[in-house]
Amino acid sequence: MTPPPPFKAKAGTTVEARLPIEMQAGYHVNSNMPLDQYLIPLRLTWDKGVLEPVGVEFPKPVVEKYQAPGTPATTISVFTGKFEVVSKFKVPADAKQGPTTITGKLRYQACNNVMCLQPKNLDVALQVDVIR
């Protein structure tokens, strides 16, 4: 994982950060709204910091039929390939000027058509330069 370059956030505004995610070929993660109650949704959460997280937007999931050999097809709501998760942050008008870091976690659970990996929590961090 390559650390993201710092970005500028103007005090008193709302900023948007896009998190591009790339799945290995053949694998998927459950979407943020899986169709089965037992499946683990994709979640991106941010810790409290200088910037206030105000929302996370996921792309439209792909509803696919997966079928392992010799088993009935199952319909699932997933993300595959390359996709982006958008996070919005409020930058308080009185935010301290200068560099800061926003930290969070991406929780995901990936599968292919014959196996699943155990759920993971991936640490994510954004380097932000607060400006006036």
């Binding site: 993201p4 998190l19 591009p20 995610i21 037992y38 499946l39 392992a68 050999p69 088993t71 155990q118």
Partner: protein, 198 residues
Amino acid sequence: MTMKKSLTWIARVSAVALIASCAFIPDEAHLYPEKERKTAPDFSLKDGDGKVVKLSDYRGKVVLVNFWATWCGPCQEELPWFKTFQHDYKDRNFTVLGLSVDDDGWKAIKPFLAKNDLNYPVVLADDHTEMLYGNVENLPTNFVIDAQGRIASHHIGLVSKKTYREEILGLLETPTHVSQTNGRVPANGLLAFLRTTR
């Protein structure tokens, strides 16, 4: 005013190292030769009622140890097969033993069991047991244990029902010296045991 920034950050949501290290076993029945079988690590885990279940309790039986989770789609494909095996072979010294790796424990497992009505024992796995069985990062991961408590086969990921059935039958139809003794060979040896049961 909204300031939009695109971050050139690629989070590769995969486990490349894990995938690369997986030993994919062909989907065909394959029992290890007896001389190559290693003793299955014993474990002591609790079922939903708090009862302690040990693998060694089943010595003398063929055991299908199934690492699974409620959130694992491929695992759910196997459950009806395993119910069938339990029904068909439980009277022939066989059992399935389900080891759930659900992080939420019985809170997640109990409703699932109530809905799916599994007919074999299910226990909650712990990190130590997962480690003993190779960390179990991929699900389903299954081990077929022979009546002597040795690993006769294992599969990572979904393989066919036919594969499991052939492996189970292959072990059930193999003559065993311990099936009637709960895993303990009598002090005087097999011959003495046979004499006493005539």
